[in-house]
């Protein structure tokens, strides 16, 4: 991320960049290149007997606030299988000035499979977050991605009267845009969430996307599974854009516990037998 307007020293905030590339060695996914700087750390747990790799992303500053910059840049080379998650929920705190900026760049090579499964983002009162997720997929690559967001600290009864939340996804396959999503709430978040067309007063939402040749066959089972889960309001749809099949699901729930009751089985199904990170268990 280039920062065109340097902040004065008094407002200097956390920044971090984590980069990682993986390749295949004898059919196993192994580290190729690795770089971490500032608050961004990447931990790779040993998973004996597994060909796939899991990486845990850590923001050591413990949260984001105005002026913070966090960037993840991940490259899954040809034939690899990589699952990414985060060590903790990403908390976005009150910003006294500026906006927290988070960028995620994913590259998924030929026959590679990448699962982007971060834990929930928690947006607090007066938080300002701009997040971008860009993914570039090879023609026969596979991507499973989730973003789950909770507004306010429900245990404390905190509501979000004033905040900025912007989450922009651009997913390309073979150079063509197959999925775009611009989620945005600004100002009275609580008031917007209360609207029946928005979230009917619930505070936990999530989006799940699968771009894969197998997505079409998973649409029916996912729909059935979601229909049988009363804890969340959710549904899924499959269609093709620019020749690529995609399966999109949306979730609304009263809190993060209820949200996970819908999300965990959905992610298990869409991960097609590959194990989810331990953190994504009920």
């Amino acid at each position: 991320m280039n920062q065109t307007l340097p902040l004065p020293p008094a407002l200097q905030r956390t920044s971090g960049t984590g980069r990682m590339a993986v390749k295949t060695v004898n059919g196993q996914t192994r580290l190729d290149t690795f770089y971490q700087e500032g608050a961004a750390k990447i931990r790779i747990p040993r998973l004996p007997g597994q060909a796939a790799m899991e990486a845990v992303l850590i923001n050591t500053s413990g949260g984001l606030t105005g002026g913070d910059r966090l960037a993840w840049d991940i490259d899954a080379g040809a034939g690899t299988a990589l699952t990414l998650t985060t060590q903790a929920c990403e908390k976005v705190y009150k910003a006294s000035a500026g906006t927290a900026d988070m960028t995620v760049s994913l590259k998924v090579g030929d026959r590679a499979s990448l699962a982007w499964l971060p834990q929930e983002t928690i947006v607090f009162e007066r938080a300002r977050l701009m997040r971008r997720l860009d993914a570039d997929l090879a023609p026969d690559a596979r991507l499973l991605a989730v973003e789950a967001t909770i507004f306010g600290r429900q245990a404390h009864g905190e509501r979000v009267r004033e905040a900025l939340f912007s989450d922009r996804w651009r997913i390309r396959r073979d150079g063509k845009l197959v999925h775009a999503d611009n989620l945005r709430l600004e100002g009275d978040v609580d008031g917007a969430l209360a609207l029946p067309a928005v979230a009917g007063g619930e505070i936990a939402v999530a989006t799940v996307l699968l771009v894969s040749e197998t997505a079409e066959g998973l649409a029916g089972p996912l729909r059935d599974q979601l229909a049988a889960c009363p804890a969340v309001q959710s549904s899924a749809s499959f269609w093709r854009v620019a020749g690529s099949g995609k399966l999109l699901a949306r979730f609304v729930a009263r809190d993060s516990v209820a949200l996970r009751k819908g999300l965990v089985p959905a992610l298990s199904l869409l991960n097609e037998g590959a194990p989810l990170p331990k953190i994504w268990s009920l």
Binding site: S166, R170, I171, K176, L177, V178, H179, A180, D181, N182, L183, R184, L185, E186, A192, L195, P196, A197, V198, A199, G200, V205, R223, Q233, S234, S235, A236, S237, F238, W239, V241, A242, L248, A249, R250, F251, V252
Partner: protein
């Protein structure tokens, strides 16, 4: 804006224009089926939220960007690609692409051969209308106000068929929603693609659920 431009704008957005808009409810049918919209009050709230936080807002932003890019083929192509990728469900995707195709076919009656932007291309409806309005000298603020009003009219037509309201009720709602339509049109007139942004999760879920609703009157 000239009188000819006004007539043209009204023609393109009139119910008789062959985009088949009577066949689509943009998720409203599902919202009625599951009790999210039951009467005039809940319908008003639903439509106001769609204008402020739903895909109709994104469509207005895309229309504005396409109006500005009417003479710029490359930008129009990327706006068409973006608008297609932003669709929230299979049905909404089918709706905007089928209507965009029908609009471009019918709009050729107003343009000498080879001068209609996006002619022969696949473009979602707001991109097709924005580009045509820009090329035809229709003012952007008027195009947006008419586009958003046409969306609301179409939703009210659907609401009548779904027995949520009647013709008198629809007239009452057209009057009540005038400020929301004007506010969205004003915002969209000043917008750039950076202003794209929606959060109508419940409405998006309703649109997905509509795929399996039986029986149904609408294609979306």
């Amino acid at each position: 804006m000239s009188q000819a431009a006004l007539i043209r704008l009204m023609s393109w957005l009139s119910p008789v224009f062959p985009t088949g808009n009577f066949a689509y409810s943009a998720g409203l049918e599902q919202a009625v089926a599951v009790g999210l919209v039951t009467d005039e009050a809940s319908l008003t709230g639903w439509l106001q939220a769609q204008l402020a936080h739903g895909s109709p807002w994104n469509d207005a932003v895309l229309l504005a960007a396409s109006w500005r890019a009417a003479a710029d083929t490359a930008t129009l192509a990327s706006l068409a690609e973006l608008a297609t990728a932003l669709s929230g469900s299979a049905e909404r995707n089918g709706e905007t692409l089928a209507q965009g195709r029908s609009f471009l076919e019918a709009a050729t009656h107003w343009f000498p051969a080879g001068t209609l932007p996006l002619d022969g291309a696949s473009a979602p409806l707001p991109v097709a209308i924005g580009a045509a309005a820009g090329a035809a000298g229709i003012a952007l603020d008027q195009a947006l106000a008419a586009w958003l009003q046409a969306f609301i009219s179409n939703q009210l037509q659907a609401a009548i068929r779904l027995s949520v309201t009647g013709q008198n009720g629809a007239a009452r709602l057209l009057a009540a929603l005038e400020p929301a339509i004007a506010a969205a049109a004003d915002r969209a007139t000043r917008s750039t693609p950076d202003d794209l942004g929606s959060f109508a999760f419940t409405a998006e879920i309703a649109s997905m659920q509509h795929e399996t609703l039986q029986p149904r009157l609408f294609l979306s």
